[in-house]
């Protein structure tokens, strides 16, 4: 095989993202197969309407069998996943946000997840 599977796949995904981007999603930088920067604009009618978020995706040669690592990059606002649900009415940080941020690892893959609300 001339080209490794993961670069072939990423090439196609990049093309697809450029031709049919989901609403509010723009590729800012995808010059290598190691990491991409994607800009997301908060969807109309949500708490995050019009706000800009930059996400950095890191891929390994095992992609897509292995998930990419995804990070919010500066300038960023830490967001509580729960407050991103459409049913949510206010922006709210989790109660232990400060504790997490102080001790956060450089990669989300190094994070242990805690569930604050098992009902959602």
């Amino acid at each position: 095989m001339a080209k490794p599977l993961f670069t072939r796949r990423l090439t196609k995904e990049l093309k697809d993202l450029s031709l049919n981007p989901p609403e509010g999603v723009t590729v800012e930088d995808a010059s290598t197969f190691k990491s991409w920067v994607i800009l997301i604009v908060g969807a109309p009618g949500t708490l995050y309407e019009g706000e800009h978020f930059k996400l950095e995706f890191h891929f390994t040669p095992s992609y897509p069998l292995e998930s990419p690592e995804v990070l919010f990059i500066k300038p960023y606002i830490p967001i509580h996943i729960q407050s991103m649900l459409s049913s949510c009415t206010k922006k709210e940080l989790p109660p232990d946000n400060d504790l997490y941020v102080r001790n956060a690892k450089s990669s989300p893959k190094k994070t242990s997840w805690a569930f604050h609300d098992d009902t959602v």
């Binding site: 095989m1 599977l5 995904e13 729960q82 989300p108 994070t111 997840w113």
Partner: protein, 290 residues
């Protein structure tokens, strides 16, 4: 509940590394409530370690060997040993596959490809069946972009069979990119089949109270997840390939339980089923005496 990530069944019985993520400024209450959990990175590192250890032990698919290997493996386990000895009346060889959670799909794929190599008269039907899976995947809601690379590799390997030989087939199945692509394609086919026939299969999931879509995402499409009855039933039907799974377990007596998976009852007996041997947590390929 929001699901953070999938944990692999296969790592649970082993002793995990001790967690290091501790906050020094916790109150005593928080310290008490602290649940030592592994971070994703630790889990990945741990999984990788197991995979590397496995990889050092055996290739993804091994050379055929005498069934005596099983006898040796279970020499201190009487219930298993008795069954293996009984099995020797009908079967003489087996082919081991790496225990990486994909062993059912890999064993199935290899045994299927090998049977098409040995029986040229069913080769064409096999290729047609594989080609029909693109339609199945699209009906099952899969995007072409997500499956075409794995499909292309699988079809390419299958189409090489008439000009290939058993050694080359084995080498290809030992090559990660090829072998894993075939595993992924079969995982997607299984998932699509289950989704399309969800009315038939969802009742089996009531106990676990998850939907077919959740089951497919967590247990079928996830690389490295082990397979059970539902996956085997779906795959054998989707590809019209009969399979017999011979179960080795600790029950008394020398009888090996055979679970038959026939795509349709009518064709039973008119063709030979692939044979896999199962012992708790693992599938290998089994060969009948000629």
């Amino acid at each position: 509940m929001l699901k953070g990530f999938l944990r692999h069944k296969s790592i649970q019985p082993l002793t995990p590394p001790s967690p290091t993520l501790r906050a020094s400024n916790m109150t005593s209450q928080e310290q008490n409530d602290w649940q030592p959990e592994l971070t994703d990175e630790q889990i990945l590192a741990f999984e990788q370690k197991i995979k590397d250890e496995e990889a050092e032990k055996i290739p993804l698919v091994c050379q055929k060997e005498s069934i005596d290997a099983l006898e040796k493996e279970f020499q201190d386990n009487k219930p298993f040993l008795e069954k293996v000895q009984k099995l020797k009346e009908t079967n003489d060889e087996l082919r081991k596959c790496r225990g990486d959670g994909n062993c059912f799909f890999r064993a199935f794929a290899f045994a299927w490809f090998e049977s098409l190599m040995r029986n040229p008269h069913i080769f064409k039907a096999g290729v047609e069946k594989l080609k029909s899976t693109t339609e199945l995947l699209l009906s099952g809601g899969f995007q072409e972009l997500a499956f075409e690379d794995f499909y292309d590799v699988t079809l390419n390997q299958l189409e090489q069979i008439p000009d290939s030989d058993p050694d080359l087939l084995l080498v290809n199945f030992q090559t990660e990119e090829i072998s894993n692509s075939i595993v992924m394609h079969l995982r997607f086919v299984t998932s699509a089949y289950l989704k399309i026939h969800s009315a038939e299969y969802e009742p089996f999931l009531i106990v676990e109270s998850i939907s077919i879509d959740q089951f497919c995402a967590q247990e079928v499409e996830a690389f490295g997840r082990e397979s059970d009855h539902l996956q085997i039933t779906a795959l054998t039907k989707a590809l019209d390939v009969p399979v017999e799974v011979l179960y080795l377990d600790g029950s008394s007596g020398d009888h090996v339980a055979v679970h038959e998976f026939w795509p349709d009852e009518a064709s039973k007996g008119s063709r030979k089923a692939l044979q896999l041997i199962y012992r708790p947590g693992h599938y290998d390929i089994l060969y009948r005496k000629e």
